[in-house]
Symmetry: C2
């Protein structure tokens, strides 16, 4: 997780617009968290994000990282992924896509769209509507 010490003013405005568009009030902490999180498509735990944010010279508490991730999830800015019981991953890419998870290495990587099967919004349980499709293909390392 590399750092970028100073965010360009242009990119900063972009982040502000993004947060505003999703109804998130602007604060110093939310900006630096968003900067770090949305610098690229990534799958990150709260703890890793906490480290990354504070490696950029910022000073943000762990509680705020948790609060902000929760807020971003509610506002649709990030997606939660439950891969195992011990930690929650946050995906900075909210576009419809699926994942490969390597059970040996713990790597979680995006699936190319063409691979993802499409699902039809029908034959769902009575009285329900589609919320989201959650597909993880667990892979293991080939024996050499």
């Amino acid at each position: 997780m590399e750092t970028n010490i100073s965010q360009s003013r242009q990119q900063q405005q972009c982040i502000d617009k993004l947060l505003n568009a999703h109804g998130v009030n602007l604060t110093r902490q939310r900006r630096v968290i968003a900067d770090t999180l949305f610098a690229r498509d990534q799958h990150v735990t709260a703890d890793k994000l906490f480290e990354a944010v504070n490696n950029n010279g910022a000073k943000v508490s762990k509680a705020t990282v948790y609060n902000t991730l929760g807020l971003f999830v509610r506002k649709g800015l990030v997606r939660e992924i439950f891969i195992d019981a011990t930690r929650t991953f946050y995906d900075s890419n909210t576009s419809r896509h699926h994942h490969f998870y390597n059970v040996d290495t713990g790597d979680l990587i995006d699936m190319k769209e063409r691979l993802a099967p499409h699902f039809i919004d029908q034959d769902l349980p009575d009285g329900t509507a589609m919320d989201m499709v959650d597909l993880v293909i667990r892979v293991k390392n080939k024996a050499p």
Copy 2:
């Protein structure tokens, strides 16, 4: 989660065979846990299984329920499902199938096989082989 006070001798032998076939040594606790768990296809948490087991007149500690579920997972007798960060579900049905999860009610139900798309064992990340496909369709209650 209904009880069946006395297991028929025939069904008991069946459970014993199942455990033996998977290399699980027989004990009183493992038998009653397996009886309860495999009575039907179900998705159950460790805590719910603990309650169910001890409602059948048995006396099994929570530690043993956790230990045994972990053992059964390693031996391929049950399947873990990670639906949210707060608890792990155990699926007594290990056949290849997928799930609907109602985010409003918490219901976790099996998908009919015909609905499940098929996945091709190709285009996986380099050096990996398919382990398992994990598909959960999250649904929400329709507004009335």
